[in-house]
Subunit: 376 residues, 2 copies
């Protein structure tokens, strides 16, 4: 199957019409339509930029690795040499704001520790650059609002680094939900976790940098799974925390379970952990079931349903994601992971922490039905 | 593989030694050692007796279908004809106590609605008969105590109808736990449920007869899965209830989720429902995982692990269970599901309902480490 290509063609086709009638943003940005590929600057050159995003940007069709922003001077030369990046497209955290004068950079992708997401996303927007912000969106809902506002004010596009919305197994799950392939969803569960034991000094375990533990790192995937796996925003959540290695997890949550209600009557559970290897989405429906396992890893996903196995072409998820965002800018294709999606998930994260602080008490959630869903 | 046969031989072999030194109960019962097969009387001739237990008793090696007890006179002739049961071994609920004079009946198997478990188990014990009690053991912990006391006073054996302890996939899970095949258990989850929609008049939906809904019916399997899947009694539990069809589930719980802590640091979750088809046990361990799916159905179980698939000989679970209990009586083989196991599970059921009534508040559980475990 190659639905991907079909979708891509469709989006490009539709853009012909759209461009003629309704693309104030693209026009406002000036040069986008003249270019074949948008230039992306990666901010933060940790493992994710190094091993996932930069390699993916060698294969993207609508964007490319144009620049980097790093706080570590020694990394500059390595990246310049490896990816042939012009010297003038290398920034550090201090001179970052001058990126506004660099026409080669269209998109700033914020891949920093969580505590720096809001600052750099807002500065990128003020520099007139489109923004991709890694998950979790920020340290709290207030910061999410600030990012969204800054992008609106600057007239730039904002997307979350939720790569799975561009991934074919996940898109198939969304199709099952949309077309009710297995009828209504009754019960959905998602696990997202890995065992962390050898890196006590990592920023993810430092609350000032991370804002939280397993929940804000892996739990966001599980929350996402429940929402695209039901097609609904939850109406309530309750949650519990489990701890077995407090000496390692000094400041951040090790394991959290949570239970969700949806307006349709569906309910869901998640387990997220920095102590357990688990990665799964499973939905029980009126007429069968569907499952992804793994459901959110970088390695190829896999899936099966009560009707049989799933088998989609495997491509870099990050390549697909960044191309989708570039197409959103260039051709007004849907924004598959808008900023409101990141904010909604942070609202759920905050409700989960509140439930835990109230010994598992159920917290009401009051989203508009489609709040935070993809534009498309 | 045929571990079963091996175990059975082992138990019989061991009994030679045991019988010579330590079998006061078997001696007290008088005739057991002279007989090849113990006579079982089924009390309550609903679907489980009709389609599972009676057929299984045609294949058992150490017991046989000797009598029935029914409240429905029309059923008597059918069972007499079908299974060639002597007229004098047929009882009704009124003359049931006279079963004490019937030497053909060694074991009374209580397969009645939950509200009648305690009454008939206690009367069976007072009649000097060994007792198998279906799950859930009774309506509450107080009744469980009364059953256990009555059996102790009467000097008869008491076993729960927990067939899975005699089932090879479940025994393999217990071996994984005992031998730490995959290291320590970190996270275990179990789902046990089915969709009920067409029988609003069934006794399971009548609280006076059932004592509860999904939790006391299917939830007990999930609780069992967590305990034999970790080898530990839980130290706390929290729980939530979900309802979507209150018109159908007027008096009993439709769906319940619960979260458990164990002293080792393992944690677990269950989902049980009369609204969702689901049947699974899955454990994440230090070095891999194991899974049964289905984990508690009558149809053959299936399992797989991070080391590969499991493949055991399929036999009637009820045949294995009743033979194991007969061997417990005849040869002092372990009681795989003693009354205390049923009581422990009822204590957990009560803690779950209490947590729900307190909006998900965690309830402490204080079991002795091996309380309610198999004797063996």
């Amino acid at each position: 199957m190659d639905r991907r290509k079909f979708n891509s063609t469709l989006a490009l086709g539709a853009s012909g019409i759209t461009l003629a009638s309704n693309v104030p943003m693209a026009c406002a940005m000036g040069t986008n339509q003249d270019k074949k590929k948008l230039g992306i600057a990666l901010v933060g050159l940790g493992g994710y930029s190094t091993y996932q995003l930069a390699p993916a940007l060698q294969d993207t069709e609508h964007c490319y690795l144009a620049g980097v922003v790093t706080g570590t001077p020694e990394k500059e030369k390595i990246w310049v040499n490896k990816y042939n990046i012009p010297k003038e497209n290398i920034y550090n955290y201090d001179n970052f704001d001058s990126i506004k004068d660099n026409k080669a950079i269209d998109i700033v992708y914020v891949v920093l520790p969580n505590s720096m997401h809001a600052d750099f996303s807002i500065r990128a927007a003020r520099a007139g650059k489109h923004v991709i912000c890694e998950k979790p969106m920020a340290m709290n809902v207030e910061e999410c609002d600030a990012i969204i506002d800054a992008c609106k004010k600057a007239g730039v596009k904002l997307g979350m680094g939720y790569r799975l919305h561009s991934e074919p197994y996940t898109q198939e799950v969304k199709r099952f939900v949309r077309e009710k392939t297995f009828g209504n969803i009754r019960y959905i569960s998602a696990d997202a976790g890995y065992y962390s034991g050898s890196s006590p000094g990592q920023w993810r375990l430092n609350r000032k940098l991370s804002g939280g533990g397993a929940l804000v790192n892996m739990g966001v995937y599980a929350i996402q799974s429940l929402i695209y796996g039901t097609g609904e925003n939850p109406i309530s959540v309750s949650a519990q925390e489990f701890s077995t290695r407090p000496a390692y997890f000094k400041e951040t949550d090790e394991t959290i379970t949570a239970q969700f209600q949806f307006d349709s009557g569906a309910f869901g559970t998640i387990m997220t952990s920095h102590n357990v290897n688990a990665n799964r989405l499973h939905a029980k429906c009126e007429r069968g079931w569907f499952e992804l396992d793994p459901a959110s890893t970088y390695i190829p996903l896999a899936g099966r349903t009560s009707n049989g196995g799933l088998n989609f072409k495997q491509e870099s998820q990050q390549k697909l994601q960044m191309d989708d965002f570039a197409m959103h800018i260039l051709f007004d294709a849907p924004n598959l992971a808008p900023g409101e999606m990141g904010k909604r998930d942070m609202m759920i994260v905050e409700a989960i922490y509140k439930s835990i602080s109230e010994d598992g008490k159920k917290q009401a959630l009051n989203f508009e039905p489609a709040y935070g869903f993809s534009d498309g």
